[in-house]
Assembly symmetry: D5
């Protein structure tokens, strides 16, 4: 699984040299959310983007080719994530999943929120009682149609 | 599982009489996101709130007591949801879960985004290329501490 | 699970009275593929369509309301289907799934074939060596975009 | 698992040298669907076909022998696929699987659509609202018989 | 699940009245293997056959209609069977499955033994050291073809 | 897992040199069914048999020792086999498992068919409509006894 | 699942009237181990035995017929038992399973200990440091044979 | 997993040099049951015992340290064991587990049989109809207490 | 499952009449931890205790008998709990399980902390930064012994 | 997975050189519970702490960087732990999980005990009838709030 090895190289470089996702994203000229997902093996990049990422993390030409290939997506080793941070998102779906469903159908009718035509923005929300994580998601609504 | 039966009564009333989550939320005086989750058996409500919900959906006094009890939470029948709308959220975690983890740690250090001290807002985002579902989430950051 | 009961009523009526999916589809004025999926609890219908379906299968007014509500989708009792006919489709994905992925990416780049903006047509293909099942699927390609 | 290593060699060669499945299929003289499945370790090929594939991807003689052996089939690492493109096909079976079953039985009686005596054709379907993926499947109907 | 209820009625009648599968098969005029599978909800029967079965087990006209419908097949409650008799067959596949695969491919090339165009015969094989169960299976070989 | 490596050596030798299971069985002087199972790591062999197998597949003395040790049995990587040929046997148990159970109990009473005191014979059955795979199984019936 | 209902009737009678397994076993004239297993739906009994059991637990004639039918065996609701007493046996296999395997093969060669031609005896073993549970198992060794 | 490697070294030495568990147990001066479990990575041993085992199987000093560390216990690769010998024990719990529970509670009240303060003895039981495997287990009864 | 019904009766009575676990525990004269577990179907009680509990929750004489029977233990509907409160305990084991293991072995050697000879105490721990849940567990250490 | 390798280096050093968790904790100046969890790959440490740990276990500079990175948490190889010591904690949740839930809600209302703002203390509790393991847990209560 060569793409996996590129992902591990990137993470190792980041840990060893103390790099930041925000910095590589700034150089690529796209959001930190998208660039991080791409570096973690979930998106494919253009040749130009691969060049920037390779320079930042000191990757080989071979590694760049893998970054440009469409990866087999899915980043988690287990169906129910064991990592406490990622589990909290899993719990949100377990607790609020039917709420998402009801409210989107109430507003839009039958269909889904696209996970492909999708973007998001994650930032710090200062708060006197302790700062908060703020995530804004935006996905195109796709209606079911009759045929 | 009596709470489950109350949830089913609420859904049946909603389907049969064409009620809206937004309307019951307005009467309760809280967000449609929280009130829907409560009606779907994921939150416990106060006696006053139970009264409003019971009137809206035509529930018995017994049903109101169940609404006030803390439920066993978790609304989905399978680990990987089969419903296409809810699955898209599962997919977002599968594809972006490690991205959430990396970016939150980069900004805040080791810890999690609380799924308890949490709120969200779901709305329509008009867009010429097709309207979008916009979800804003806000959860308190809880740091791991040494002991 | 009231919608499930409506599905069972429809199937019972079909078995007992020897009805045909093609006939109910003709009355609804849509494809047999979509109407069957709707009758089996996977799609929501308009009031007018519910009226036609209810008349055909002799359903109550309450049943019609359930047909108009958006269902919790997913029709199979196990992850790997035990029914031989449905399993063959599961096997096609197991054997050809990576082929679908490679060829769609080769033609379109990174993205998916929508399962929402999707239609299909299933028909008999006469063949001297034994007739064949012919299924034509058409789903909109949705590209991943950078953000 | 030597066959797996041949598959990985083929994928690596394809990514590194920017090869196309359509081109290797043209040289083999068969459909891109079948040849891609064979290269991905799901079909066995003749000595002549193995020669063409080996030349195209620069494989060793040992690799050719593996291409000619019948592989242990099944290409996906998890029962429910995590990759969004492949998952959409899984979802189609979850949502439409009982529809396939009902309509095939209505047309043909008890039996299955063969996944062995099967062929398919995948192509781009131009559409003003965004091009579509068009997949045509044809499988022999096999009736259950009494004995 | 009405078909399930017919199966339970048949089993109850058999237990209560001490009936034999061999006898109902003789009246239907087909093998005991096929008729038992049909009575247990795995095959669909003709109107005439349904009549014979209904008379034998004292079933209603409604029950007969269910016997004629194509059932959702798969008779076991768990993936790995807990019943010792049925588990032994599961073990045979676990231990000899790759042997079946190798020997069939050695004799026939790439393809499968059909589980649809299939028949079997189960009988007692007298043996001084203790009688044996003898099962003869015959399934059409279906070759994979190129396309 | 050294026994696994011996199995892989045997398979590689077979693929590379085009050997046949029937031939190694003939030299061992036992059925092709049993010898193939032994070579695939499911049975233990005598020193003499190990010698014949080692010569045939060009194995080391160390490999012979592993062939003589009782292996940890079970040859399939997943509970539900993904390989289409082996899956068909799994399907036979899913569809006919309760039929096996009923008919064996009708003939023999409570007990099982042994998967240990067991033998089988797999051969080609010529048929004008396409040749068939014929498998004959014979297992000792073991009755449950009271104590 | 009528047999299940008979099992529940027996357990209810036992709890309500404070009956003992040892007493019903004494009346049947067999070991308490076998009779308890039979009462719990894991063995089939003769007409005479059914009569004794029915009188003891006050069962109907219909219930007696179910006791005489061969049940679908397997008494636990989950693969890994949640009940602490039963789990300890599961743990013994997890920890000592490979030890059983090695020692039985060392003594007997390749084969198994039968779980069918099997009996056991469970008794109290007085001990100053606290009494012990003593279980003696005896199962026929069944060798694998070549064929 | 260094302890695992020591286990594999021991098994390899045993297979290659034809050693016996009974012999190493005799040298250690404890039962063959306990010593085999220890060699298979389920128990920790003293320095003196490690020395005897190391000499017997020709292990390094490093290996001895691992034998003295408390291992992560659990020796089987799957929850339901695929090996026929070990599966029979799993089946005994599936069939007799509730019987164990009922009889132990009848004799001792609420509590468990310890799997820690536990010993066992496995021996050959000569029998004219074929020798039997005899296993005697003895575990301390631990009562639940109120608090 | 009659014991389950008694548990549901108790919970319903508690919710409907606003009863407290602390109060029933006080009347029984034991800790609130043990009495709650007993009421929730995890412990068996004496006749006297059953009488107190029955009076408190207004249960029938039949219900009391069930409270006195040893239950099939295990209170959660899924292996990984969906309820956020209970999941946090599951997470503690996932994150700290190997820490528990290492520290207990460092202090006591090889063995376990008993979950049977076990008691606990749960109380509120006032804290200026927000009150805390304080749980004290005490379980007897049980050493593995050689035999 | 480089962090995993650091964990294995630490465990190997501990086993080979007979080190103690209590000693490394004393040098770090924090509790043995937290430091052990950190060494086992569940917590991230500061540069100064990494230096102390590296010196104690003789780790490289690269290893120190990994200790400072936030790990993917979750230390157990299976959902239900096979190790008897760790399983006992799993059993406590299975048996007492709903008791924890009821008593925490009775005392605090709807919410959870934090597994992040959490600390614990594990010690030996001398007892004439055999020493006990004593574990004190303290986690902040986090209430659900309306929004």
């Amino acid at each position: 699984m060569s793409r996996l090895e590129v992902t591990e190289k990137i993470i190792t470089a980041k840990v060893m040299r103390g790099l930041k996702w925000a910095d590589v994203a700034a150089r690529v000229g796209l959001s930190k959310e998208w660039v991080t997902a791409a570096c973690l093996g979930q998106m494919s990049v253009t040749a130009a983007q691969a060049g920037v990422i390779a320079e930042f993390f000191d990757l080989s030409e071979t590694d760049q080719r893998w970054l440009m290939a469409v990866p087999y997506k899915g980043a988690l080793p287990t169906v129910v994530p064991t990592d406490p941070l990622i589990y909290r998102f899993h719990e949100l779906i377990s607790v609020y999943g039917t709420t998402f469903k009801e409210l989107i159908h109430e507003e839009f009718g039958d269909g889904i929120m696209s996970a492909i035509d999708f973007k998001m923005d994650l930032k710090r929300e200062p708060d006197a009682a302790g700062d908060r994580v703020n995530i804004q998601m935006s996905g195109k609504f796709l209606p079911y149609k009759t045929f």
